[in-house]
């Protein structure tokens, strides 16, 4: 009897340990404490201990049921692709976020306060910057957006994207992709999908059309 009891007790203790650590990790990752959400690797290590990556793995498995995931964004300069076997130093400097595992439907984005035009503007801005090797003059992006949106909306949108951290602007008026795009957008997938999307007939005459209806989009489910 005693022989069976010992491993069970050990398993129970380990479960309690990871549950406690997972709770702490969720607090660190979900509640915004600095100007940016999420937590740095070194913060997690200090709070969760040296096995923090294991705790995050357990948390990630748990979050899968909720359509969320733990996302790691390595520091700039590490390379465009995430390293396969990151060093402890790279992990320390990386930022960890909890992001949506799947994707949102257009009606859900409306609830988040995004108009479909704004999302299109963000998509155009990000894709254009990617196509220009990561840097594009603000004027060029504005001109491109003005084809689709009224002038005042173009500027408001760009300033909003900068404020949110999707794009940044340097002293030479060049726009670049910022931390939030690296955390939230699968850029390779975005470009692939854009290039594969068929242009509907007559769309060339529909520039600048204001789009408000999203009911049709609601029928489409998640892809992700």
């Amino acid at each position: 009897m005693e022989k069976q009891e010992a491993p069970r007790r050990l398993r129970g203790r380990r479960k309690a340990y990871y549950t406690m650590k997972m709770r702490r990790a969720v607090h660190l990752l979900l509640f915004k404490r600095h100007s940016k959400p999420g937590a740095k690797g070194w913060e997690l290590r200090r709070s969760l201990g040296p096995d923090y990556m294991k705790v995050l793995k357990v948390l990630d498995d748990y979050l899968e049921k909720l359509d969320l995931k733990v996302n790691v964004v390595f520091e700039e300069g590490t390379g465009k692709e995430a390293p396969e076997n990151p060093t402890p130093e790279q992990l320390n400097r990386a930022r960890f976020y909890i992001t949506l595992r799947g994707t949102l439907t257009p009606s859900e984005t409306k609830l988040l306060g995004w108009r479909i035009d704004d999302i299109a503007a963000l998509a155009i801005t990000i894709s254009y910057i990617i196509s220009k090797d990561g840097k594009a003059p603000r004027k060029e992006v504005e001109d491109l957006l003005k084809v689709k949106l009224p002038g005042w909306r173009t500027e408001t949108n760009l300033n909003r994207f900068i404020r949110y951290g999707y794009i940044g602007e340097d002293e030479n008026g060049q726009l670049y992709l910022d931390w939030r795009t690296r955390a939230e957008v699968d850029t390779r997938k975005l470009i692939d999908l854009l290039l594969r999307t068929e242009v509907e007939e007559g769309s060339l005459n529909r520039y600048g059309r204001s789009v408000g209806s999203m009911k049709a989009d609601d029928k489409g489910g998640r892809t992700g």
Binding site: L30, F31, K32, P37, G38, L68, K69, N71, K80, Y97, I98, T99, L100, R101, G102, T103, L104, T105, P106, T109, I116, D117, I119, A120, L122, A123, I124, S127, Y128, I130, S131, K132, D133, K135, P137, L144, V147, K148, N172, Q174, R180, A183, E184, V185, D186, K189, L190, I191, L193, L194, L195, T197, V199, E200, S203, Y207, R209, V211, D217, G220
Partner: protein
């Protein structure tokens, strides 16, 4: 090396440095720069440099050329990877897709961050401190009441300072700057922007730049801009096309195309201009 040749050589090197820097900072295609040509210029002067500052300038130019070669190498590498997308193709696609389709595509690649904002102990402390320091409403109202002032005299300087006489003084100042510009321009009728606005103190340089911007706006002078060389020249006009004062000519009547150009007047640029000026004697 003869003095004239030295001056030309320095200008050439400075030109190389500026060209490379502008290509780098503006993200232009690095293959726009003909590296062989630039190296040939360096080679032409290298054996004749003897002063340490000239050799430093030469090294700086070489360093800038090396950075362009690095950019060229990265450019080729990027284009040969599977991640590379033809920008024209993508731009065309973005232009032709409707907003709904673009947004739908984006939503398939977008995984927003889940985050919650909440009050922290620190922000609560700050709020408490603010509340404690805040005076009662009746006390604040008391402070804002107008105070009685005895009649007195005021000087012209004080009027200018308070903005009452500002315009006339400003216009007079602008006109004298225009006369100065006409005197300073060389045979080709133009002068480098920094050589005109630059002064012994940084404050004075900023003041001159501010006045110069009005010279150009009101049509007393025009600007010639060479973005690749990063050079700006000022060219005074013999007669201002606009009637300065209250009755300014309508913008539509001006033939030239009008647009705004921000010209940064940073302290670093002023220091650089001053040292260049000293070097040139």
């Amino acid at each position: 090396m003869p003095r004239g040749k030295r001056k030309v050589g320095r200008e050439d090197l400075q030109g190389i440095i500026e060209l490379c820097r502008s290509v780098r900072s503006r993200g232009l295609n690095p293959f726009l720069v003909d590296v062989d040509d630039l190296v040939a210029v360096l080679r032409k002067y290298f054996s004749e440099w003897d002063a340490p500052e000239d050799l430093c300038l030469d090294a700086e130019a070489l360093n800038e050329i090396a950075s362009i070669i690095k950019l060229q190498s990265e450019w080729v590498k990027r284009r040969s990877t599977s991640l590379y997308t033809d920008p024209f193709l993508l731009e065309e696609k973005l232009r032709s897709l409707s907003n709904e389709k673009t947004a739908k595509v984006f939503l398939q690649a977008w995984h927003p961050i889940a985050e919650l904002e909440q009050l922290s102990i620190r922000s609560l402390e700050e709020a408490l401190r603010y509340w404690e320091d805040l005076l009662p409403l009746d006390e604040r109202m008391l402070r804002e009441r107008a105070s009685k002032v005895e009649p007195g005299t005021v000087t012209r300087e004080e009027l200018v300072k308070s903005g009452i006489l500002a315009e006339e003084a400003f216009l007079e100042e602008m006109r004298s700057l225009w006369r100065e510009l006409k005197e300073k321009t060389g045979m080709d009728g133009r002068i480098r922007y920094w050589d005109f606005i630059g002064s012994q103190s940084y404050e004075e340089s900023v003041r001159r730049a501010y006045l110069t911007s009005f010279l150009v706006t009101y049509g007393y002078a025009t600007m010639e801009i060479y973005p690749l060389e990063d050079e700006i020249f000022l060219k005074p006009l013999k007669e201002p096309p606009l009637q300065i004062g209250r009755e300014t000519l309508r913008w539509e009547k001006r033939k030239e195309q009008l647009f705004s150009i921000p010209v940064p007047i940073s302290y670093e640029e002023w220091v650089e201009w001053r040292s260049r000026r000293r070097r040139e004697g």
